[in-house]
Point group: C2
């Protein structure tokens, strides 16, 4: 036979691995083409990434979740995709932490390759405080799903302290460390014998103690470190850090593209071959610039000073100038052909950096999602692709309550084998976009409730988006951080109708019978696929309505699955016990079926605790104890049922609205007692 590999050179030739060779008895032909485009060997995740590179455009389901940062960086470089990253510092207060987390979510939407969190030696950076560097980085990785680099400084710290921090970082799922020396404690700094005196000591320590687990980043100084003997000496130090095991370099800020390009050339000249990422500082204000320059001991070029000094009291003008300046410098860097990614010093601010990125065309808000829910970037959760639908609006709470799991559902949710959910204690951390002040919430949810109907009204206003009686829009609910999802908007009319009558909806999805995976509203996963959904409706309602509903549901016995539970855990269902029902799934080219969302009877009972507790934690506690408003919420909490309904017949028109209509009709009929 002819050797086809020579005839058709573009074809991908795949040979079985040596393992398969032992099980089949075949003669192997050597062949020039290969399926793997990866040049680095190393970890098993290498083969994972090559799996997808031949087929899937962004967003991919697996590749990005399995690659380590240095691999992602290399893949972007190989493919010519340009990227950016964002630097943040830890906040000072719990309130500021909640704000920063929502900033992570908003800026994460633009598609940074990674973010990094600085190490704040004065702020107990390795502690469990919600404002510590460690915990902020933990939140970014686990709850916001962002690839994250944690900074770490080494001077004035013991080996044991540092090892402890690194172990903790690893445990929390952090995979990248920016190894820094840090600022010496006193004015006059002296080397400690056997201590950590330079960043290179930290790099060596990480590689000694943790082998190849972490990707390590080090700092480069385009003008030379201010304390270095010379620019050349500093380059040598940088090379030592790379030789000690650093994977890439992020530079100190600079004001002219030539500064960076010369630095990069000089690095390459002495044999530094790893990626070097320019650090970009968009000038955002006169004072922040002065402070930064003072700390970094850099000199602001005269031409910039000349522009800024005259407008130093005009914040907007300075920011606009800063944006212009950054955009033009970034363009020069990218046009040079040697720069693939840009690192932004955000100073925890959004506007300037976002604007620069948008003008550069690097801000890529991809409406498509790899999965219908927000993924976590913890390595343990790489394979996770199934979750119960209940936490759809509270993914951070779900991640929190499952953080102790050793394995995550993959392919199937399975039955009772899933481990227990942790209890949710820090309700405030995972509920509102920004920890809205009590006054704000009272305006939305009512200063004074007069009965259950007042509560119906709040739910209805949330659905419609119309202002309430006092002219305030209800933009969030205890169960929903954000205004109604675009998808739920499809159901708006019906939802309004039922909420008005006391079916207090907290989660729902329409049925979908095979829409393209690229659909802007309901799509997810790689392109070329089709997504499906069973209609779902979840709500609180009174026992009177439940009684009628159960009579109605008999008519729908074979079609609708239901779970009805009160706060005491009394549970009524027609579902095969412990058997989950897949309610969202997708079919993709060349893949197994993905079914990311299920209605699971077991976890529903854990969700029930959380859903009922939110009435009290978020709503009732806004009012004085013993006040009528508080007692109304307490009554609902004590007496209502949490109901979920699934219409299994996804190709037909959603029958759940009919079920609800029938229920109200039954309640209104004279025969009904």
């Amino acid at each position: 036979g002819r050797d086809l590999s020579c005839l058709i050179p573009t074809v991908l030739l795949v040979f079985p691995s040596s393992r398969e060779l032992t099980m089949v008895n075949e003669t192997q032909h050597t062949c020039s083409a290969s399926s793997s485009s990866k040049s680095d060997g190393g970890s098993s995740s290498g083969s994972e990434s090559s799996k997808d590179s031949s087929r899937c455009s962004t967003p991919v389901l697996d590749a990005e979740r399995h690659e380590r940062l240095r691999e992602k960086m290399r893949r972007r470089q190989d493919s010519g995709d340009r990227w950016f990253s964002l630097e943040f510092f830890p906040p000072r207060t719990a309130n500021a932490a909640v704000n920063l987390i929502s900033r992570f979510d908003r800026m994460g939407a633009g598609g940074p390759l990674f973010i990094d969190v600085t190490w704040h030696p004065a702020g107990d950076p390795g502690s469990d405080k919600e404002t510590s560097s460690m915990i902020i980085a933990n939140t970014a990785v686990n709850y916001c799903g962002l690839e994250t680099i944690l900074h770490m400084t080494c001077c004035n710290q013991t080996k044991d302290d540092i090892t402890g921090h690194l172990q903790k970082a690893k445990r929390l799922g952090l995979k990248n460390i920016m190894a820094l020396r840090g600022d010496p404690a006193g004015e006059e700094w002296e080397e400690e014998v056997d201590g950590f005196n330079y960043a290179v000591d930290l790099v060596k320590h990480i590689r000694n103690e943790f082998d190849d687990y972490f990707d390590i980043c080090v700092a480069g100084y385009p003008k030379g470190h201010p304390e270095a003997e010379s620019y050349e000496a500093d380059l040598k130090h940088l090379k030592e850090k790379v030789l000690a095991g650093a994977d890439f370099i992020i530079t100190q800020l600079f004001f002219r593209s030539e500064t960076f390009l010369k630095f990069m050339k000089d690095c390459q000249a002495i044999g530094i071959t790893c990626p070097i990422i320019p650090g970009i500082f968009p000038i955002q204000g006169y004072h922040s610039l002065r402070q930064l320059v003072k700390l970094s001991k850099l000199e602001v070029p005269q031409e910039i000073k000349d522009v800024i000094e005259p407008i130093k009291d005009n914040d907007a003008a300075i920011r606009n100038y800063g944006i212009e300046l950054a955009v033009s410098m970034c363009r020069e860097l990218l046009d040079s052909g040697v720069v693939h990614g840009l690192h932004f010093y955000t100073l925890n601010r959004e506007v300037a950096t976002t604007e620069v990125l948008k003008r550069l065309g690097l801000w890529k808000e991809d409406p498509r999602r790899p999965l219908p829910w927000a993924v976590s970037a913890h390595p343990k959760r790489r394979v996770e692709d199934v979750r119960p639908i209940f936490w759809a609006s509270r993914p951070k709470s779900y991640i929190y309550r499952t953080q102790e799991w050793d394995d995550f559902p993959n392919g199937r949710w399975g039955n009772s084998s899933s481990p227990a959910f942790g209890e949710l204690k820090d309700y405030y951390l995972f509920y509102l976009k920004s920890k809205s002040p009590r006054e704000e919430l009272l305006k939305m949810w009512g200063e004074e409730l007069t009965g259950e109907e007042s509560v119906f009204e709040v739910f209805t206003c949330y659905i419609t988006g119309e202002p309430n009686k006092n002219g305030h829009k209800v933009t969030c609910m205890p169960w929903n951080d954000d205004p109604l999802a675009t998808e739920t908007n499809l159901l708006k009319e019906q939802l309004e109708k039922v909420n008005r009558r006391g079916i207090l909806t907290i989660n729902s999805q329409p049925n979908i019978n095979g829409k393209p995976s690229t659909d802007p509203i309901v799509g997810w996963g790689p392109s070329g696929g089709y997504v499906f959904q069973k209609a779902y409706l979840e709500f609180f309602t009174s026992s009177e309505i439940v009684t009628a509903l159960l009579k109605v549901l008999k008519k729908y016995e074979s079609r609708v699955n239901y779970h009805i539970v009160n706060v005491k855990g009394q549970n009524i269902t027609n579902a095969p016990d412990l058997q989950p029902n897949a309610v969202t799934w997708g079919i993709f080219p060349g893949r197994e079926i993905i079914q990311p969302t299920v209605v699971d009877p077991v976890s529903f009972l854990s969700w029930k605790d959380e859903a009922f507790a939110l009435w009290i934690e978020q709503w009732a506690k806004l009012y004085e104890e013993e006040s009528p408003s508080r007692m109304i919420i307490q009554y609902i909490h004590d007496n209502y049922y949490l109901v979920n309904l699934v219409d299994n017949d996804f190709p037909l028109e959603n029958c759940l609205w009919q079920v609800v209509d029938d229920t109200f009709e039954l309640l209104n009929s004279p025969a009904q007692q």
Copy 2:
């Protein structure tokens, strides 16, 4: 709140298990209704079965696969479903074994609750011979997916021998033993001290050594055992066997329903409460009746003798009479209300028993399948619900080659983690319905081949069902035991066209975009669901056609996945390596997604070995060595490629025919060299 459990008594109330109670903090209410209808506690499979009893009508996906025989029997009794079972004896020759296996498949289609295989002490019953009792029972369970009882006799055997047999039976996946004494070796039988003298000793031994692993059946004698002192003494022996741990009783044959009904009443009177199943013997011929009567020492009633003697040389008349007699006796038994199942002594014959069952309305050929492929009844394979599509026509070979696996894919096939396939050595065992004689095969596949075109002709005749040049129909192929499947018939016209031109198809399925799971042709699984398929085409073809095909496939790059391999293992594919593609899946009420069939690149290489070997083993070896016919098949084996194509875009019209048309067009175009 009102207690709904009192208001709505028909509702199913499910409480979390004690395990879940520890993870959620809720007050449990006691409640009269319960999800489990089972009365026996026991094994973990109990809870499995109750899962489904509330929802799924037959066929179920899980329940039947997880229940043990005594549970199935009880469930049928509780639900009032009547059932039957079939007894066979081991064959004498390998040829007869192949015939018996295909009889298992045909009679299995009628829905027996179980079959049983007698123990043939003279035939080395526990050996690995393909005709031994042990191996025939193994085949019934593992390859035919039938619930099976293996008989075992104990007299004249050592404890160790018997334990060895039982261990082997357990290893092979047999779960039920019929414990018998067996016939003594000599004329005068004496009790052995410490030996196995009675069936009760064997029952005790099984329970001692294997605890509750086996379901145990014992024999009952409606007229008393011929060697018993009295009818009453024999009843006492029977009760001892039940007390020793037998789960149910099958009776010796009898000629009058009153005989059985009296026996049953007498059993109950002395406290035997387990199921007692009447053994039915449809008279099929004069000589077999005489022989059986002699062995069993039973007396044929005069009224039967009176009918039979005059027609003793008319086989058809006797069989018809036997059928009438059996039908009327069975009706009396079933009408009594105390008989739920009937056990048939088939004597390895099909016609009479099948006819009786059909007349009684017990023969239930259910066109619906629990899964799209033939399931195995080995307990290890209970959870198996994914297989590669390649063995679709050779499920027994697939089961054989994966028999050493410890785990079976469930939910997902996964990637390279699947263990190796065993080599297929006994090609003859798993290929033709009945080991067709060489002459028969030569008539179908050609006495003398004149070139590759003669081979194309054979494939084409198999597809069309038309006779070949010599007037013989091609009803099987080396890769297909049976004539074209109904489903494949949907593709007949296109298949004929491409086979004529040298695209030699061996497996295919049409695309299906959501047909009801009850669809008589493509449906499977419980009712109320929807099934889906991606179009699939698998064929052998020449390297010239492959060259053109690969050029054409570039146009379909994002839509069609292909694997192309020759006998040497040279493999060309555009699929993400090691990633399986789900090509059949189903969505059911209240369940996770089932995806029973995948195209898996790894197992394709194991299938390739088998598919290519079948050219030689089945076809080439029909001809003399060095003969032109044999060399033609050998040439195809050495030079052709095995190709599979998947059209990922299942909602659109199957594009694979267009791919093939384009390929032929390219081959015919003048530019093509």
